[in-house]
């Protein structure tokens, strides 16, 4: 009995010292626990134990707000370059690119681009006969590709600057709409990516777009080379 009385006194003293401090964490005019010792001390120490806990510390649970980790696996960007359409001169190409980085080594890439074919040497020399109408000279493509960061590395500018880079290889399938028709296209190539900051990348890419065409009566394989410079942002 002696011990429990002492313990009770100790706990009351503890409550008296800590509870006013806890009150700081309470918002509004919620009921505060009695901080005075007289009331609790007046209760009989012996006898029937009451259901109510003698000390209700009212300490608010520390709330941990888990911020979501910002995952930047996607990359979106645009590019401008030159596309050589076999037999039909070279022209400016511009396009958009969306990439998803699966691992540090591999990524998936979707590209869509637009260009315009020029005139063939035959058309220029013969003077009259045009092989394609104006709208048939529109050249658009899309491609779904897999990329491999073959040579990751760094470049150094002067003494204090180093930027992350990667040389990558890309291959994929897609479609080319040219001369009025859709053509199944296989593309492949390589690129070099420099990251001036962790969220932005500058790309230089070279691609070959390969498809079959029977525009001049006989089916033949066409290689259209493209070189472009692009800018993309990780998100």
């Amino acid at each position: 009995m002696e011990v429990s009385g002492l313990r009770l006194l100790f706990l009351i003293a503890l409550a008296a010292t800590t509870l006013p401090g806890c009150a700081l964490f309470r918002r509004g005019d919620a009921q505060l626990p009695p901080a005075t010792s007289e009331q609790t001390a007046a209760e009989p120490v012996t006898g029937e134990p009451s259901d109510k806990p003698i000390i209700d510390p009212q300490v608010e649970r520390r709330e941990i707000r888990r911020t979501r980790i910002d995952t930047e696996d996607f990359e979106v960007g645009a590019y401008v370059g030159v596309l050589s359409v076999e037999d039909f001169e070279s022209n400016v190409v511009y396009g958009a690119r969306l990439a998803y980085h699966l691992t540090e080594d591999f990524f998936l890439e979707a590209t869509a681009g637009q260009s315009r074919a020029g005139r063939t040497s035959y058309e220029n020399l013969s003077g009259s006969a045009d092989l394609l109408t104006d709208s048939e000279r529109d050249y658009t493509y899309y491609a779904l590709s897999v990329g491999w960061n073959a040579l990751p590395g760094e470049i150094f500018l002067g003494e204090n600057r180093a930027y992350n880079t990667a040389f990558y290889l890309v291959a994929g399938i897609g479609n080319t709409t040219f001369a009025g028709d859709d053509r199944f296209t296989v593309n492949g190539g390589f690129g070099y990516r420099i990251l001036p900051a962790d969220w932005i990348a500058v790309h230089f890419d070279v691609r070959d777009h390969v498809y079959d065409i029977d525009l001049l009566g006989e089916k033949k394989i066409v290689n259209n080379l493209e070189a472009h410079l692009g800018l993309s942002i990780f998100f």
């Binding site: 520390r62 941990i64 707000r65 888990r66 911020t67 979501r68 980790i69 910002d70 995952t71 930047e72 696996d73 979106v76 960007g77 645009a78 511009y94 396009g95 958009a96 969306l98 980085h101 699966l102 691992t103 540090e104 998936l108 869509a112 637009q114 709208s135 048939e136 529109d138 658009t140 899309y142 779904l144 960061n149 990751p152 590395g153 760094e154 180093a162 992350n164 399938i173 897609g174 479609n175 709409t177 001369a179 009025g180 028709d181 859709d182 053509r183 199944f184 990251l195 962790d198 969220w199 932005i200 079959d212 029977d214 525009l215 942002i233 990780f234 998100f235």
Partner: protein, 255 residues
């Protein structure tokens, strides 16, 4: 002409999205960073998110650092002295929340596949001898059954076409790493003959299919799949056309 104008529309929309996204990193910086406690004897900081990038700093056990961002399996950490570097996921598993609990990286794994709801992917294949590019997306009602929308771009020698199909997909044993499935559905197919051909005209037909395939769980949230479909094209002619469709290889992810 029409198609190129829609493409340029898509391009300009993407450019617009890019421009709005450039504001993104700035706002993301304003977010409160995630604080963690190092529990491993030490963590090595690399200069880039890859195993080949050199280690330039070491953080000891008991130090508090902030997670800035994540890229694939690498985390960018910022020390109290403002140094930023990248640490691999393997080292992050042992780190702790400020409360002392282990850090939950919420890694999608094969077990999560059972609780997945959405799945999407792309595939390449063959449609009656023509090349085919395919995109699909699905929603799972239960562990086994999902509804799936597939869009195909069919690129043949004599004609090109599009098809859109909606069907049910039943995965027999989803908890297996390689799991067979059965699929059944219907849709529409639009066929355009090549402009070099003179006679035929564009056609729109109804299509029905039954098929099966295999899905292979790769890692994290990624899967490979291969599929066969037997299509029946309900043509306006006297005979229906039966067409074999193979998706040789598809890549899918769930979320």
């Amino acid at each position: 002409m029409r198609r190129s104008s829609t493409l340029s529309g898509i391009l300009s929309a993407l450019l617009l999205a890019l421009l709005t996204l450039t504001a993104g990193p700035g706002t993301a910086r304003a977010d409160e960073p995630h604080k963690i406690l190092i529990a491993d004897p030490f963590i090595e900081l690399h200069t880039g998110p890859g195993r080949g990038y050199p280690v330039f700093h070491v953080i000891e056990r008991g130090r508090e650092v902030m997670i800035v961002k994540r890229r694939t399996d690498w985390f960018q950490l910022r020390t109290d002295r403002g140094l930023e570097g990248w640490a691999p996921r393997d080292q992050m598993i042992a780190t702790l929340e400020p409360t002392g609990e282990p850090l939950d990286l919420q890694e999608p794994a094969r077990e999560n596949y059972m609780s997945r709801r959405w799945q999407a992917g792309v595939a390449g294949g063959d449609f009656a001898g023509a090349s085919m590019i395919s995109a699909f997306g699905g929603y799972a009602f239960s562990d086994n059954l999902s509804i799936e929308l597939t869009l195909n771009h069919i690129l043949g020698e004599f004609s090109t076409g599009y098809s859109a199909t909606l069907g049910l997909m039943h995965v027999f044993v989803p908890e297996w790493r390689i799991s067979p499935y059965f699929t059944l559905g219907t849709g529409v197919i639009h066929t355009e003959p090549k402009s070099t051909l003179v006679q035929s005209i564009d056609r729109d037909d109804q299509i029905g299919y039954v098929g099966g395939g295999l899905q292979f769980y790769l890692t994290r949230r990624f899967m490979l799949r291969t599929e066969y479909r037997n299509n029946v094209i309900f043509t306006s002619r006297n005979d229906n056309e039966e067409v074999d469709e193979w998706k040789y290889l598809g890549f899918a992810f769930f979320f």
